[in-house]
Amino acid sequence: MNRISVETTDKAKFYQQMVRQHGSPLLILDCDQLVKQYNALTEALPGVELFYAIKALPHPAAIQTLDALGAGFDIATSGEIELLREQHASARHTIHTHPIKRDKDIRDALRFGCTTFVVDNVYELEKFVDFRHRVGLLVRVSFPNPNTPIDLSRKFGCREDEVSILIQKAQSLGLHVKGLSFHAGSQSPDSRNHVHAIERCTEIINQVYQNSGKLLSILDIGGGFPVEYTQSIMDISSFCEPINAVIKKLPDHIQVIAEPGRFLCAPAMTAVSKVMGKAKRGDACWYYLDDGVYGSYSGQLFDHALYPLTIFSDIKEIEQAVIAGPTCDSIDVIAEQINIPPLAIGDIVVGHQMGAYTSASSTHFNLFDKAKIVAINQPAVMAENVLRFEQK
């Protein structure tokens, strides 16, 4: 169930003002918060290069903010490449991580300047033969994680025993495999699967070297760093401590990289919606917001997240309520069996931790407009903003 907090109405002023200025529904992207999250993860994972998984929140302000901090980018599609191109992000600091690609996807990425790609099977290796002199590959290994709401080792990733076969095949095709990657699962409650995966990869890397003399130099530990939705979670430094301990056991020449998405952007965005209608149905009062699970709250379906909500009221009495979205579909319910003070039409409801996989997966169902994203506290755009070069 969503966590619901009730604040006094004077606390709603900022949101009311933003809605007056920009309309409702609204998503407020706080770039300061992005910076804080990036710095927190950098501190928690010293020496690990971070590549922001832009699928989580493909927004120009997020790209600009993280690019200015020196982050790289994890891309998966030609659309994401276009976004980076528009933001003048450095192509040298990108990795293409989609394990399944069309020929055009590979060409688009190469033309953009991305030369690192992820593969997890022989068919995919063969797609790179025409580009073999230009690319460096990471082999994605599967480490299933039963303890995570989103197991990212089911759809993609080869078995551990397939790694050396793939590397041999790559060598016979004239392709360069430069490292391994894995995804320990998204929103992991603890880092045990990361630790397990790094330990296994360490062994694979050592074995590959012993058996064939092939030097692997990169380990991509994926993402999965958790943020708080319904339950309190481990703070990021405690989460990363065991990861750092096993990273230390890797051969010295290995560069560890990671692909955080959710951890960086989830806390940076807040949804502001208005009650557009209400009805008493049975014992519960139904409140219909102008945003719902077909919109910014789409992550409640696709991402298995339940966002913390805040309502604003000075009334002490509470009653049973349902908070629903605006569309005609009855699945469009954000929170039910909750007890809150009565709301009026036009009141504001705020959703927190709504940066990751929210607007990214929202739809135009019923032809409702998507919530507008307004970026605040954006770092001053460089005077010579026309050009961003490889300054890193």
Binding site: R85, R107, L110, R111, H133, K178, E390
Partner: protein, 282 residues
């Protein structure tokens, strides 16, 4: 300090200091930039790959022009595919014996932009009365063209992008059709040490249509990684075997001033390194 890093290869690359940016376009799904570099003058890069620089372009343009024209010996009509920067046109225009030049460029904006930002490449060649500029896809042009040319020069971009149609069997077959008897097709074919596949693939495809197919070489500093190869395709077996004296006579008669090309280079450039010969032998 601003720098521009080429992103052609994952494990190796060249980097330029950028003193001033003259032009940049990140739209139309591509990234084009022209900037000033202390060592190479104005540098043009497309999609992370260096296309041409003012300092070393003469090597590339002279070799793709004078080698086929001098070997042929009686060139009246020349077709240039691509070459929007005008460097190839400038070199072809040096030949007083050439009566007609058609240049096919896919994008008229490239020509205009290069006239403005790389004026030393064309050096006024676009105003030559012998020149006919056609805005069309080069592959489409040779498919539908009824004219015949003595030399066709393909000055294409990298085969990863839109230039890939200029590396197909169909393109070579249509070029053959557009050549007058004994005519020569030459094509930009990449740096063999870095991309040996391009040599073997082109050889296989061109051999189907031409009695003589081979390559000649020149090192162009900003096409990094060793010598660049130019594909050579013709039905006239003699053209590749001409001796230095014959070329020297023609070169003297043409009265052309060059900075890289000369009769000795002409003859020597057909000598291929063993690793290329081995790759071609399969």
């Amino acid at each position: 300090m601003k720098t521009y890093a080429e992103t052609l290869y994952d494990a190796y690359g060249q980097q330029f200091s950028v003193d001033k940016v003259y032009f940049e376009n990140k739209t139309d799904h591509q990234h084009l930039i022209i900037f000033e570099n202390a060592k190479f003058g104005r540098v043009m890069a497309l999609d992370g790959i260096i296309q041409t620089t003012e300092a070393d372009e003469f090597i590339y343009h002279e070799m793709l022009t004078h080698v086929p024209l001098m070997a042929h010996g009686n060139v009246k009509r020349v077709l240039i595919i691509g070459g929007g920067d005008g460097g190839m046109l400038r070199e072809v225009c040096k030949h007083a014996s050439v009566e007609h030049i058609t240049q096919v460029e896919i994008d008229d904006q490239v020509v205009e932009m290069c006239k403005e930002f790389l004026p030393r490449h064309s050096a006024g060649a676009y105003d030559d009365p012998r020149v006919n500029i056609v805005i069309d896809d080069g592959a489409n042009f040779v498919r539908e063209c009824e004219d015949r040319f003595d030399v066709i020069i393909s000055d294409s971009t990298d085969p990863i992008g839109p230039g890939d149609v200029l590396f197909t069997s169909d393109f070579y077959e249509n070029c053959k059709k557009c050549l007058a008897e004994g005519g020569v097709l030459v094509t930009q074919n990449g740096v063999a040490y870095m991309q040996l596949d391009e040599v073997t693939t082109t050889a296989k495809r061109q051999q189907r249509y031409f009695a003589d197919q081979s390559f000649y070489c020149a090192a162009v500093p900003t096409y990094i990684g060793g010598v660049m190869t130019f594909a050579w395709a013709t039905d006239n077996l003699a053209l590749r075997q001409l001796d230095k004296e014959t070329i020297a006579q023609r070169f003297a008669a043409a009265n052309i001033k060059t900075r890289y090309y000369n009769p000795a280079i002409h003859v020597a450039s057909f000598a291929l390194p063993q690793y290329i010969l081995d790759a071609l032998a399969g």
